[in-house]
């Protein structure tokens, strides 16, 4: 028998596959930008909440009434802010979707809630630990690992009843807020952590972090 290669068949199958692929790329990128848009919306709405707590604190200087009414709102804001950070990281790490402007906006919000938490901590005297993770997305081999170690330490200590509020900043994104915070704590290398306003540079494992956190409170 004379054999032939059914070229049209394979071209047809190739074009069909390509069509599905292009459609997939379109759907994928649409969905990614819609994720970014929804995070951006969240950032704005939480910003508003932070601003109102700030305003009330300024208006009421009276610690006793403020603390009872607003520290739980602040806790909620902090965990919301943290969650948004993970979503942004997820988009970066797993999807390769970057939006530096949104990230800068997010850092402003994060810094606001950090400063607010610091104030409330001294005003209301609560014993939660404030932890800042300074990282860099540029050539920092151990930064991702450091993030994992911090979460591990945090989870272990929270199980023991220590409340830890976590804030993460990319020190090399040219975010003026992140840069100001880094300057304030003298951060020059990544990863570095700041535990209750004391800076420690270099990678640290979960156990070492736990000891540092316990010693700080």
């Amino acid at each position: 028998m004379e054999r032939t290669v059914s070229v049209p068949l394979y071209i047809g199958a190739f074009l069909m596959s390509l069509a599905v692929f292009l459609l997939g790329i379109y759907v994928g990128s649409t969905m990614n930008s819609s994720h970014l848009a929804s995070i951006s919306e969240d950032v704005s709405s939480v910003s508003d909440r932070v601003a109102s707590v700030q305003l009330i604190m300024l208006m009421e200087g009276n610690s006793s009434s403020f603390c009872s009414a607003y520290s739980s709102e602040l806790d909620a804001i902090d965990s919301e802010v943290e969650r948004m950070g993970y979503m942004l990281s997820y988009l970066e790490d797993e999807k390769g979707v970057y939006d530096n402007e949104l990230k800068k906006k997010y850092f402003v919000l994060e810094a606001e809630s950090y400063v607010l938490s610091k104030k409330v901590k001294s005003l209301c005297g609560d014993d939660s630990v404030l932890l800042i993770n300074f990282y860099s997305n540029q050539g920092c081999g151990q930064c991702k690992e450091q993030g994992t170690e911090i979460l591990e330490a945090r989870d272990a200590l929270e199980a023991e009843g220590t409340d830890i509020k976590l804030f993460s900043f990319d020190g090399e994104l040219n975010s003026s807020v992140a840069d100001a915070l880094a300057a304030q704590y003298g951060i020059t290398s990544y990863p570095s952590v700041v535990i209750n306003e004391k800076a420690y540079d270099g990678f640290r494992e979960a156990d070492a972090l736990k000891t540092l956190i316990k010693g700080s409170s």
């Binding site: 692929f21 997820y90 999807k95 994992t148």
Partner: protein, 391 residues
């Protein structure tokens, strides 16, 4: 990047099948018209420890709607240690065209060759002793041989419905394999003449040689050899043959690992056919086999890698991560699943009178992957450890 390549490859192979089906949908169930001749057909039945099934198997041959004087049944007892010989003899003494031979154990290929040398027919059917023909199996197949280039025809090997869930799942699988084999026959790429039952033009054995006696899947090797001589192999959708499938997971895995190891070796042996002069068989079917295996292991690797590298924080946002995880790959994955479902549906629907319960259909779609995973991993392990063969 690798995941996109795997996704594109899966889409491509599915699309080839879909296009082939669309092109040939009208001739799918049709066979060539019979020429009214009844040539002599010899059926060779090698048997090793098949005492439990051989009686029923031979009985089904005797009930064939085919002139008895044009039929010759040759049973080759391959040194069974059970009552196979006695069981076959019992049928022989009652009815004429059965001849039972006994030889020292030498494997299925050797037993087949032993029987083929004794056969007098113009056509030789090979049949497993645990399989059963239906009345018109031979009459449905013979018309394909009117084309003088056709050297072998594979039948519609099926599993009887109504068994355990494991045999029901295999039944769905057999229908799917059958469906794709028919599609392959349209691009002259049938890669197997199934052991349960197949008919060969006797002359083909002079041209390409007898069965390979040292092969794990000799029914595939002979088909590849026939293809390498550029003869045609056709596939019938209407010549029903029923076979007994493994009824427990261990035996099933053992069977599949054997198929996979033997199949891989055979394709490797015929890799020289990857040339344009071998047409679709050389340029698509054989490369596709290697690509499928590569894609499978690549996918396995990607899954392991994803599992290991999933960031720790994902557990705080797993619900959102699930939502954000929807991307190109998910989309294509969903499309592949959708098209596979359609493919399987067409496969099952294309047979008249084959009904599959929805629950088996769904279970098959959901779990077939795990069976493949199991035997492919075992295949790889055994190949790495260079484990010996046994069957």
């Amino acid at each position: 990047m690798i995941s996109y390549a795997v996704a594109f490859f899966s889409l491509f192979t599915l699309n080839v099948f879909i296009l082939l089906f669309l092109k040939h949908r009208h001739e799918f169930l049709k066979r060539p018209k019979s020429n009214g001749r009844f040539p002599m057909v010899s059926v060779v039945v090698p048997a090793y420890n098949e005492a439990a099934y051989i009686h029923e198997s031979l009985q089904s041959l005797l009930e064939l709607d085919y002139p008895k004087d044009k039929l010759e049944i040759i049973v080759v007892d391959d040194g069974s240690t059970d009552d196979t010989f006695k069981a076959a003899k019992a049928v022989e003494s009652k009815t004429a065209p059965i001849h039972v031979f006994r030889k020292e154990n030498g494997g299925k290929g050797a037993a087949l060759n032993f029987g083929i040398k004794k056969a007098k027919g113009e056509f030789i059917a090979t049949m497993d002793a645990d399989s059963y023909v239906t009345k018109d199996t031979i009459r449905e197949i013979l018309p394909y041989f009117d084309d003088p280039e056709v050297m072998a025809v594979s039948p519609a090997v099926k599993i009887k419905p109504g068994g355990s869930w494991l045999t029901e799942l295999q039944r769905v699988e057999y229908l799917m394999i059958l469906f794709s084999r028919k599609l392959f026959s349209f691009i002259d790429s049938v890669p197997v003449t199934p052991g349960p039952f197949s008919i060969f033009r006797t002359a083909v054995f002079d041209k390409v040689g007898l069965f390979d006696e040292h092969n794990l899947v000799e029914d595939q090797e002979i088909a590849l050899r026939i293809q390498s001589h550029n003869f045609k192999i056709r596939s019938s959708m209407t010549a029903d043959v029923y076979t007994e499938p493994p009824d427990n997971v261990k035996d099933l895995l053992k069977q599949r690992v054997r198929w996979q190891r033997g199949g891989f070796r055979n394709y490797w042996k015929y890799r020289h056919m990857i040339k344009p002069e071998y047409g679709d068989f050389g340029m698509y079917s054989i490369p596709m086999q290697f690509a499928t295996l590569t894609a499978f292991f690549a996918l396995l690797g990607i899954m392991l890698y994803t599992f290991i590298t999933t960031p720790y924080y994902v557990r705080y946002i797993w619900f959102e991560a699930f939502g954000m995880g929807v991307d190109l790959f998910t989309f294509i994955g969903a499309f592949v699943v959708l098209v596979s479902t359609l493919f399987l549906y067409l496969a099952v629907k294309s047979f008249e009178g084959e009904k599959v319960k929805l629950r088996y259909f769904v279970t098959f779609l959901a779990f077939y992957w795990y069976l493949m995973l199991g035997y492919n991993v075992l295949f790889l392990l055994k190949e790495i450890r260079k484990e010996g063969f046994s069957w």
